[in-house]
């Protein structure tokens, strides 16, 4: 699936994650993550985002994530919503 436009999902509230997606520049899955728990869970959050994008057949995207301590179900959900809004 192809990302056609800029879209956002989520909030900056505690336990949430704010996701912004936009069309990629043929760089594959370009993820820029900031998080209040980046040292402890940065790799895990990144993996959850990658898996979600792959499950949606997204191959080229620029994704910015600002995490406020979201659990996996919230990360998956916000990524899915942002991508669906960008199609």
């Amino acid at each position: 699936m192809k990302i056609n436009k800029v879209a956002r999902a989520g909030t900056m509230e505690s336990s949430d994650i704010f996701i912004m997606v936009q069309p990629g520049d043929n760089q594959g899955l370009d993820i820029r993550l900031s998080s209040v728990v980046i040292d402890q869970y940065g790799n895990h959050i990144r993996n959850v985002i990658m898996e979600t994008l792959k499950s949606m057949n997204i191959e080229d995207i620029e994704l910015t994530a600002n995490d406020r301590g979201a659990l996996d179900y919230t990360i998956r959900s916000r990524v899915e919503t942002a991508v669906k809004r960008a199609l």
Partner: protein
């Protein structure tokens, strides 16, 4: 009565922080709300979050109800189609009419069949929040076998009636009475409207007692702080349980002795008193205050 619904606590459907903590707030039911608590621009986001929460969040045995948008709207149909496969315990249907309930039932049945879910297992709780719904509540209940409870929605009802909503609640006396009576006739639960002033604990007690005195069996809550008070009113007291147990024990003795009517503590015990005692015992068992095995 399959489960107790002393309290049904509304949780905004687009708030991960509240959703993932909802199961530990003590309510019998939680209502993940994708209707009034969510702006039009965020309906898709809340719907998706609820879908994932139903799959992954532990609600610790709490009943999980999803308040969808009206089934006849594009949002509502999508809510039902996408959330049904995630198996919530029930859907709450706003602005209930026979047509809205019929539509919800048909959509859920279709998805249940497709997904291999037992047809009819997902329940419905219509909200009576218009003058029409209050007057037609018996017909609305007859529309679907899924209906296990009705919630009275007094804010929208009084707006529809063009009357003021007061803390005293005199203006909803008739609606409470009617909903409680009809629900009792159908042997389903009658859930009272929420008390809006979350900082007025005395007012909450009085309002909850008013509903209970008219036959309501539980109350919706809009803040976790309201749950304990509501449970205190709708849970049988130790004295009530003890008296009910004594009546049941006396009845068993009388039955053994072949007596149809008997006296207990100087009072003649007949069918209505036994029925009342059995109801208290059943509620106490469901509330975890009595062991079912010990009552056999």
């Amino acid at each position: 009565m399959r489960i107790l619904r002393r309290s049904m606590l509304f949780i905004p459907g687009n708030s991960p922080n509240m959703i993932q903590n909802a199961g530990i707030l003590g309510a019998d039911s939680i209502i993940l709300d994708v209707e009034d608590a969510v702006s039009i621009d965020e309906k898709d986001s809340a719907r998706n979050l609820i879908m994932h929460a139903l799959e992954e969040v532990d609600f610790y045995g709490c009943e999980v109800v999803v308040r969808v948008n009206a089934p006849s709207t594009a949002f509502g149909e999508k809510d039902l189609r996408e959330i049904t496969p995630k198996r919530p315990d029930a859907f709450m249907i706003p602005m209930a009419t026979e047509e809205e309930i019929r539509l919800a039932d048909a959509i859920i049945s279709e998805i249940e069949k497709e997904e291999g879910i037992e047809v009819g297992s997902i329940k419905l709780v219509p909200i009576a929040e218009t003058a029409y719904a209050v007057e037609s509540i018996a017909d609305i209940i007859r529309t679907s076998k899924r209906i296990e409870a009705v919630l009275l929605g007094a804010e929208d009802l009084t707006a529809d009636m063009e009357i003021s909503r007061t803390k005293e609640g005199g203006e909803i006396y008739y609606a409470r009475n009617k909903i409680a009576n009809i629900c009792k006739a159908f042997k389903i639960q009658a859930i009272d409207t929420p008390f809006a002033d979350v900082s007025d604990s005395k007012g909450l007690i009085e309002d909850t007692l008013k509903g209970k005195s008219l036959g309501m069996t539980g109350k919706a809550a809009i803040n976790p702080r309201q749950v304990d008070t509501i449970h205190h009113v709708y849970t049988p007291s130790q004295e009530e349980i003890q008296y009910a147990k004594s009546v049941i024990d006396a009845m068993k003795e009388a039955n053994k002795a072949g007596k149809g009517v008997f006296s207990f503590e100087g009072k003649m015990i007949d069918a209505p008193i036994i029925l009342r005692a059995e109801t208290v015992i059943r509620k106490a068992i469901l509330a975890g205050m009595l062991n079912e095995e010990a009552m056999k």
